[in-house]
């Protein structure tokens, strides 16, 4: 703590200033978000306001309006706006999208429940045969929302393919919001003037329009900037490197560690994209590489991709970059294919002549499976880089660290200046959880620890 106090008295370093700018930006967007949720609710109290009713009934209605506003803004959160995502990282925005949907669901479920408490006779509205259409619209909207949440949380258990889920998610979202708005307009109690009526149609339409942007305008833009596969080569550990070249445009500018969404041999309008980290150096824009491990339906097809195949690339995204998190030295922790963005980072450092110290802890099953093993050894010569291989199932002659990679092993490997370093962790979820927790427990500030996750649904 004494150390912390001394630091606080010093003029903030450039690095700390950069961080606080990011924090302010982050807090700023959050305020904008809350404002966008609350504003359409507040506007209902402007102009002629209908007479008030009992508190619980009014609360039920206001919670539903707020819940609908959150629902409507869900379209904005997934529209891949780089500027908005920049302070957080795209994975965190998707995570927020997921978490806030539980909040919206709770608010919207509480709406009929509270009404039933106020007046149990309203339970009759649950019968679509006798209820007025406006009530049935509300009911179906709620059921649809429940279906959206269930199919997302339990996608893998229901064995819904990612692409199918994604289409389903967009369609159900439009249905849920459309019916919720029909319910609001049908009841009409608070949308009692023409402008309030228009507001509660135009506001959702504006945000749902983002889905249109993502499914029509953005693909159109991508279609005009095609890439072509130059080479697909095998790497160690059932992994393939796919090299792409820009066709008739200068390429993509990206930071090391970032990723892009790839559409292979299909129109970008199909929106069957998959996120992959760049494994090539960020110093080359027109020729880029992605290294992909055979894991799912899509990734196991990579090895069969022929040179000359057209690819569309939407990027670059992500905050998992040393350009974004500047530090005097780094520790990289990679598990298996998690090496990809970190190798891209090391290649970039080599091209730039960046001699900041890096410790790379690379966890793999066995010696033969270590992707980029030879290149990492070569990079050790060119950079101020130390590579430590940890093998979870080594052959008997292996004498270096082995066994399940755990907290004690990680702490043991950390360099003396570990408090000053920034940490980049990429690998299986369990490895990232363990490494993050271990580092926080060791007193590393969470802003020094960077990871990126994509197993949200």
């Amino acid at each position: 703590m004494a150390n912390g106090t001394t630091k606080a008295k010093r003029r903030p370093s450039r690095r700390q200033q950069g961080r606080s700018t990011v924090t302010i930006q982050g807090a700023g967007w959050l305020l904008v978000y809350v404002g966008l949720v609350v504003l359409p609710l507040a506007l209902l109290l402007v102009g002629p306001v209908p007479p008030g009713r009992e508190f619980l009934r009014e609360l039920s209605v206001s919670l539903a309006f707020a819940g609908t506003a959150i629902l409507v803004l869900q379209f904005a959160l997934t529209a891949r706006f780089r500027r908005i995502k920049a302070p957080y990282g795209i994975d965190l925005v998707y995570h927020f999208h997921r978490e806030i949907s539980f909040v919206a669901l709770s608010l919207l479920v509480s709406h009929p429940v509270m009404l039933f408490i106020v007046n149990p006779r309203l339970l009759a509205l649950l019968n679509p045969l006798t209820a007025p259409w406006r009530a049935t619209f509300g009911l179906i909207a709620l059921v649809t929302l429940l279906a959206i949440v269930l199919t997302s949380v339990l996608r893998k258990r229901f064995r819904i393919k990612y692409e199918a889920w994604r289409h389903l998610h967009g369609i159900l979202a439009l249905v849920a919001v459309g019916l919720a708005i029909a319910h609001i307009e049908g009841v009409g109690y608070y949308v009692n003037t023409p402008w309030k009526r228009v507001l509660w149609i135009a506001y959702p339409a504006l945000w749902a329009g983002l889905l249109l942007y993502m499914s029509v305008l953005r693909p159109w833009w991508l279609a005009r900037r095609p890439w072509v596969v130059r080479e697909v080569r095998p790497e160690r550990g059932a992994t393939w490197t796919m090299v792409l070249e820009a066709q008739g445009h200068p390429g993509v500018s990206f930071s090391p560690g970032q990723f892009a969404w790839l559409t292979l041999d299909e129109s970008p309008f199909m929106r069957r994209e998959h996120p992959f980290s760049f494994s090539s150096s960020a110093t080359e824009r027109g020729r880029v590489a992605f290294t992909i491990k055979e894991a799912g339906d899509f990734t196991s097809r990579i090895k069969d991709v022929q040179p000359g195949t057209r690819v569309f690339l939407d990027g670059a995204y992500g905050h998992f970059s040393i350009d974004r998190h500047k530090a005097p030295a780094y520790v990289f922790v990679a598990g298996g294919i998690g090496i990809t963005p970190l190798l891209g980072t090391l290649r970039t450092m080599a091209e730039r002549g960046d001699q900041r110290p890096v410790l790379l802890i690379d966890v793999n099953r066995d010696w033969e499976e270590i992707t980029f093993r030879e290149e990492l050894a070569a990079l050790e010569e060119r950079l101020h880089l130390t590579v430590v291989h940890v093998l979870t199932r080594p052959s008997p002659e292996w004498t270096a660290p082995s066994g399940r990679f755990n907290a004690a092993m990680l702490l043991d490997l950390l360099p003396d200046d570990f408090r000053e370093r920034d940490y980049f962790i990429c690998g299986p979820g369990s490895l990232m959880d363990m490494a993050e927790k271990t580092l926080y427990d060791a007193g590393i500030h969470f802003r020094q620890v960077h990871s990126e996750r994509f197993d949200l649904v």
């Binding site: 959050l30 978000y33 809350v34 949720v37 609350v38 609710l41 507040a42 209902l44 109290l45 306001v49 008030g52 009713r53 009992e54 508190f55 619980l56 009934r57 009014e58 609360l59 209605v61 206001s62 919670l63 309006f65 707020a66 959150i70 957080y88 990282g89 994975d91 965190l92 995570h95 927020f96 978490e99 806030i100 539980f102 909040v103 709770s106 608010l107 993050e436 927790k437 926080y440 969470f446 620890v449 990871s451 996750r453």
Partner: protein, 31 residues
């Protein structure tokens, strides 16, 4: 940790929104 942070933010946003809804309902029911 970062994910827990986003869960916390979602909770805080949820609370702020509920607060706004309570104020709305309070205002309307003549508190």
């Amino acid at each position: 940790m970062r994910q827990r942070y986003s869960t916390l933010v979602a909770l805080v946003v949820g609370l702020l929104v509920v607060l706004a809804a309570v104020v709305f309902a309070g205002f309307q029911s003549g508190w």
